[in-house]
């Protein structure tokens, strides 16, 4: 009882640091952005769109982390592997016209009419594949660990990441597999500012994912998942099948990872439109967003993703003169700096539950 009272008091009393952090950071950035907007509107709009697009990709991946953490209380380190596995599967369907390791061709490529219909159908098939992959992994490696130390489960996911990555790289042979999207690297212009269609697609997908999660949390299964997250034993006592909740979370997490993996091959993340061994790092690039937002909060994943995306792209665009001596890759460390500052202010993330949990 006391611990509960303390938690609620914490949750109420700690509103001010978040507001202070947000307002402080927001006002500094706001003034800076206004200056830039008047200075050179085209570059500013282009940068803003890019950063929101990248933030959306981070948010989608972060949401996968959050769903799995919410149900199982473990960070799933295998998200990167799952992202590449899903993107690879889609690449086989779209570019090679067959299912990996088989000669079964993809019937959706032969659908008459505009090519995006077949492409969309292939994406849905790939999503089903990702969900299935998540289910199988959960059943084989996570389910037997119910009630076991969370640290062991986290290490298992780390092992899985390496297994999946080696499988992707060596057995499937990634080597720049092309992953076509209907809109390619095309885009549209606002004035002189160029914005990629895939940037817009990432934002729309993130919005859809978050609305879906919002309604899912209020559904029968979603309530069960939140109950399991709060008190596993009490949830079991209500007749909730904890294993099923784990399975649903892993399936959803794997699908989100796959979607994030597909976006990781497109602008604004990369221009190559191909799956590479490097694509897997998207999960670790999104990790600061998850940690900053709070590991168990969907809202945190969205805002954390956007904040990190803004920080990374804006630092890349405007700070090159000051910190260019760090090398061309310096924007990649910005997320981690923001994460560290965020954690010092709010150790459990902006929207995380203020309760110390193991791993």
């Amino acid at each position: 009882m006391t611990s509960l009272t303390l938690r609620l008091l914490n949750a109420r009393g700690s509103v001010s640091p978040v507001v202070a952090f947000m307002v402080g950071l927001g006002s500094v950035l706001g003034v800076f952005m206004l200056l830039q907007l008047f200075n050179d509107p085209e570059i500013f709009i282009q940068t803003l769109a890019k950063s929101l697009g990248l933030g959306s990709v981070y948010a989608i991946i972060a949401l996968g982390f959050v769903l799995i953490f919410k149900a199982t209380q473990t960070v799933n380190f295998a998200q990167g592997g799952l992202a590449v596995a899903g993107a690879l599967f889609l690449s086989f369907l779209v570019a090679d016209d067959h299912i990996p390791f088989t000669t079964i061709s993809n019937p959706f490529n032969d659908i008459p009419g505009p090519s995006w219909i077949g492409w969309g159908a292939s994406v849905i098939v790939a999503m089903c594949f990702a969900a299935l992959l998540g289910l199988v992994i959960e059943r084989l490696t996570i389910r037997p660990m119910i009630g076991q130390p969370l640290f062991s489960v986290a290490v298992i996911t780390l092992g899985l990441e390496i297994v999946i990555r080696v499988f992707n790289n060596d057995a499937v042979k990634i080597e720049f597999r092309s992953l076509e999207v209907p809109w390619g690297v095309d885009g549209f212009r606002i004035g002189d500012a160029f914005i990629n269609w895939s940037t817009m697609a990432a934002m729309i997908t993130a919005a859809i994912a978050f609305v879906a999660v919002y309604f899912f949390y209020r559904s029968r299964t979603g309530i069960a998942m939140r109950a399991v997250a709060f008190d596993q034993e009490a949830a079991m006592a209500q007749g909730i099948d904890v294993g099923r909740v784990f399975a649903i979370a892993w399936a959803a997490g794997a699908v989100l990872a796959m979607i994030g993996g597909v976006f990781a091959t497109q602008p604004p993340v990369r221009q190559t439109l191909s799956v590479e061994p490097e694509t897997a790092t998207i999960a670790f690039r999104a990790l600061p967003a998850v940690i900053l937002g709070g590991l168990d909060s969907a809202t945190g994943a969205l805002l954390g993703g956007l904040i990190i995306g803004l920080a990374e792209i804006f630092a890349g665009q405007y700070a090159a003169g000051e910190v260019g001596w760090l090398g061309a890759g310096y924007p990649l460390i910005v997320p981690y700096i923001v994460m560290i500052i965020g954690l010092i202010i709010r150790p459990y993330g902006l929207f995380g539950t203020p309760e110390i949990r193991r791993v």
Binding site: R7, G147, I223, A237
Partner: protein
Amino acid sequence: MLEVANLEVVYNEVILVLRGLSIEVPEGEIVALLGANGAGKTTTVRSIAGLLDIHEGDATKGSITWNGEDITNASPSHIVEAGITQVMEGRRVFAELTVDENLATGGFTVRDKAANAASYDRVMELFPLLYDRRKQTAGYLSGGEQQMLAIGRALMSDPKLLILDEPSLGLAPMLIEQIRDIIVDINKQGVSVLLIEQNAMMALSIAKHGYILETGKVVMDGEAQKLLADEDVQEFYLGLHGEGGERKSFRDVKHYKRRKRWLS
């Protein structure tokens, strides 16, 4: 009818907690299970509800039968579906969920929407207070309200047997009386009740039959009224002293422990 026969439960493969426990809960009755700390009351509940697994516990001997079906190692969800629900010790409401969402978790096993709505109405009739707070976060309810919510949540699965683990824990005497009346009301609606309590006076005052547990065994059982009148029970569970007024030696009163009672 619930029958627990010669149940032996071991934790971590070494700690023997229940040593041949046998109890019965006939249909439509209130049965009290009393005992001091560590007697094995909560372990008994866990065994019936199928929650031994996650506590590294194992039923090594004996059986639990519910209306003729062996449910000794059944899954918790199967047991709830079969009609046994428990109100856990310490309430354990989902503090981050609203009252309505808490009740929804209780009705998780019921797929029929109409049945769910009927259970909801029934709970709201029993606890009008919860209706006013149905949109509130459960963590902000008072202890008494949380206990009502925990009981309401358990009733959402429309159980035939309700197990209450220490419903009076941490509540004021007035609230304990209220909870007691609610238990009687629920029982009148045709739900059998297994009441686990340290508050023996409260439990025995409404129960038909009572069991007294010590170190994992039933050491005494009988009609509740008879137990209430029993000298030893009065001394050890009701805090009343015998005629002499002086505390007797523990060894003198424990004679019943050596009496042959069940199969032991």
